[in-house]
Symmetry: D2
Subunit: 348 residues, 4 copies
């Protein structure tokens, strides 16, 4: 990773995220929405940039004002926007979200014919992935062509040029005609992935055998309930290619699984939850930042957990990612990243 000019390029969804201004209100009674930006890979690029990394994003926006809105925001966040094509005839994605803590966060995706699904192999070629240390991919980009082929192409380029591939097993059930395709495409990509990250539900989804295992309540597309054997799923994922699988467990922190069978639990930072959306992306941005510094995986995950804890207390995702100084103060005030100095495993 030494000779690379830039740190991180993410690939996938981007959107205007419209969050209810009426916390706790039933969706039909909402009076207004705050205008944020979002999409897992966008959140991660912004989070990493705020922490200090040189980050860019490969995504697509339409030739519309929402596209302007997103690009304007990214530029203010020092996230590179050169790899964001304007897709004529396609619309910039949008998401409309209700906030009913503690457990209801309904959301509606406007992703029919969306611009970020229209990223092509040629757009990937233009993105110069070989100049980055890490390529982070959102699995939702595998849901349709041409972005599916573009993802496979991007990971091959990354492999050929020594760029580490991080896969966020980002699962949005309503984006797949057959939800079982999600796991099939993820597993086809995993041999080229170094580090995979997912929630317990996403790991179950990535090894799903039949559609009946999934149920979605309160239109919480981002938090489906999925039945299955989690341990078996974790083993199936880790044996399919990646060196490391990080399982996100919410307030409990994360667990790191290694190819050789070892496992490490990394505790989280307990806080009061306002909005869980974006917490996983905050984790990824913190983890990736630590990984880029050459920290142990344990320490990198601790920073990730701190970032996640920071964001669940805020309404937005990308807009509320922490800056380096403030997240370190936050961590220090809660025992620090390495409370017991007990880290043991090193990678790289």
């Amino acid at each position: 990773m030494k000779d690379k000019i830039f740190d991180l390029i993410t690939f996938g969804r981007s959107s205007i995220d419209l969050y209810s201004q009426n916390i706790g209100a039933d969706f039909v009674d909402i009076k207004g929405f705050d205008a944020f930006v979002g999409g897992s890979p966008l959140n991660i690029a912004v989070g990493a940039s705020r922490l200090g990394a040189k980050a860019s994003i490969i995504t697509g926006v339409g030739n519309d004002k929402i596209g302007d809105f997103i690009i304007n925001f990214l530029k203010k966040q020092n996230v590179g926007t050169d790899a964001i094509p304007r897709i004529n005839g396609a619309r910039t994605s949008a998401v409309i979200l209700g906030i009913e803590p503690p457990d209801k966060f309904p959301l509606v995706y406007y992703r029919d014919n969306c611009a970020d699904n229209q990223v092509t192999i040629d757009h990937v070629i233009d993105a110069n992935i070989s100049q980055y240390k890490i390529l982070e991919i959102s699995a939702t980009a595998l849901s349709v062509e041409p972005s599916r082929s573009a993802v496979f192409y991007a990971t091959e380029i990354a492999q050929d040029h020594g760029v580490d591939v991080v896969l966020d097993i980002d699962f949005r059930a309503d984006q797949w005609k057959d939800v079982r395709s999600f796991g099939l495409m993820v597993r086809a990509l995993l041999p080229k992935v170094k580090i995979a990250i997912g929630t317990e539900e996403e790991i179950l989804a990535a090894t799903l055998q039949n559609a009946e295992q999934i149920s979605i309540k309160h239109q919480q597309i981002s938090a489906p309930e999925i039945k299955g054997n989690l341990d078996a799923s974790i083993q199936k994922i880790i044996s399919s290619g990646p060196e490391i699988l990080i399982v996100k467990r919410g307030s409990k922190g994360v667990s790191i699984y290694y190819k050789d069978g070892q496992q490490q639990d990394v505790p989280g930072f307990p806080v009061e939850v306002l909005n869980v959306l974006g917490a996983g992306d905050a984790f990824a941005s913190g983890f990736i930042y630590g990984y880029l510094q050459g920290w142990s995986l344990y320490k990198a995950c601790r920073l990730g957990n701190a970032c996640g804890a920071w964001v669940v207390q805020k309404p937005g995702c990308a807009n509320d990612m922490p800056y380096y100084k403030e997240i370190m103060q936050f961590a220090d005030s809660r025992g620090g990243l390495m409370p017991n100095e007990k880290e043991t495993f090193m990678v790289h």
Copy 2:
């Protein structure tokens, strides 16, 4: 129209309308949006209902929270929702709008694979159009199948059962693969239409010969600039079928064109403009209400003009339609609906 149980059923678009809370701000600087509902036929149904008419709407919503939001609002407005199917696999429409008075109102339509385009002939059959006095149609519903066939079917049913057809020559250029198709479909429908309503631009659009005549600035989809000969276009429309064509001229009011060549100008009510969107729909709801009362066209148009003036002072569309009492007070305070008692033409 005597033996009908209900007054008005409208047909076409419905959406959540998200209006900038930062009046005058450049789009990229918007911080939040007010949550209203909109769509021309929805606005008209709500406006007519508030004035006192028994109104319903034929539209489609998705199986999502935005659909709940719209139906909940309509029920509160006493607009009938029995003819609104939930369309699985399609999304409720959304519109995101900036407000930069006096002349920039950019908007972004989320209408790819939208539910209101998925209304079918069977949905129209279920709507019992024969029980209404007026069927009001939004021309945008002609842009794609199956709603296009459903519109033609609805107008035939209306004709067969003595229901007056009012066509709003609602033109949204980005909803048509070939903008010339708009006029072709409108003109194919006009033989079955009694009263057509449109802005000057929409009338030019409905007689468009080549796509180069259109230009759209500031992404103001609802207000394109179109070159052409307006008088010739008006004659082409009125000779294609309808008994009456009403041309909306903004603050100048409207002009009524009759098949026999007569014309009548109906002045507007001068007010300060906050947001022009929805004004035309407010006009239609007022006009239709007056028409239902058996008023002269002149008087009905005056009420329409009053409603339009009322709404341009407000941020929303459907949400800010006037009630009967308040609009009559508004009109009376400005000289009344019939200042000179000079009305001459009667229809029905």
Copy 3:
């Protein structure tokens, strides 16, 4: 019609027609197919050309060998091919047909994403319709965009330039997502049509109220059974616009219906049937040829009937259309076109 350079331009389907070489064989036992060309408007253009008319066709072919095959054939038939665009990315239509006389003629249409459905308004503009005396349209071109808009545009151009519009109420049930759309689009077009032609089944289809009225046996797409009141349907069609409706009744000949309520039966020429496909198109080509000569409708229909009788004895459609001399000999040998000189009505 006097000042026109050319006689006839048809608009719609074109295909390679592959007819079983094993007459009477069950479809699964077919060993080979004869290679003909077909498609109603193509057949009519070829038939009219063979009789002596200056004919062209507006259709689309793919950038493939089947397109070459069709264009090569048309050139040999002196049919103008300047209005046939090559549509990249779309396939030239194909039809595969079994022949099991007397009553089973199963056929399989290859029309998914076919080139003749991709004809646009711009292609129509290039076709110079104003230079022809007659525009003949196949109603199947109304089934999808962009050819649907192109048909409406073509009929408007024809009307504006004194070109008579003949509509073949060509019904292919499997080409319509909702079969009721067929009649809706036909009826929307009829106000611009001078002469409509259809079989009894097609006239029922054009006034269809519910899909259950249709049944198709032995995959005979071109000969559905449709329940309904034929007299009422004829009245609905003739009152919707055209001056004349010609109902094709197979071996019984045709009936001419006039707007003023008059009706005239024109007897056919009894022959032994080999293949009914193409008979209706042969009728249209003969009728149009007679109409172009200024003959009475009766006499023109007699020539049409003779052409139909000629073609049912042959395996092919376009390939077996009669030349002027041979069809006149055929008619003369069977009593001539005007056996009793009893024709009474004149149009033009």
Copy 4:
């Protein structure tokens, strides 16, 4: 492979193949076509069945007479048809082909919305792949969803149940929106493949870096010219997963590449060529039959070469596959399968 009930199940394209009856004629002069069946995996299943294997096919056919035609043929060939769903709303594939030896074999695919692309994961589940010794896949089934996911699912089932996966790197350029997607999907599948088979052109296509490398002359979709470094491409394929790569070299026979770097050339049987189409599939059926008998790869390839030589002398593909007795006589009359008894490598 011991405990399996059946020998071979193939997966992918099936079609009616219409071959010119006018050998050598320019396409536009063709008078008729012989009706055969085809599609690479169908040909292979038929070929293997005729040699003596218990073979089935997973493909899709429409609810049409062409579907009947194909299923009727397969039943006569003792090929299992239980895994062939009837796909409503999709058409059975068709191919129309000219024959102009020695080097022009233009063909036109009718595959828009075709039934064999509509095979789903559920269809694969119904196919009971675990009961077969070999799953043979045609790479064209990777071109679109849902058959792409179905292929990935099928290979996973095969791996989980000890079924050897043979991949035919079947490349049809016009079936891919971006031809580079072909190689990306093939390479994503290769880790699950035991034996890959392809022509030199197909191997170049599977490692294609840019679309300009491909050119197609005389509409010979099945024989594109592709520029590239063949040795590098072979190494890239073999290192991507399979134990064995067999390169088909036409009349020169085939070459076997092993993961450990060894290579073995297997000479062909020189004959006069009538129609090259189907030769590769004949090879695959012969090779697979030999492999199933536990023969050396060399001997299995020799049988494959004999079958290929047999078929190039015939007009058809599936219809002209050899039976065991006749192909052994053919081989014996030309020196036998193992002329020098020099085989050395064994697999299994």
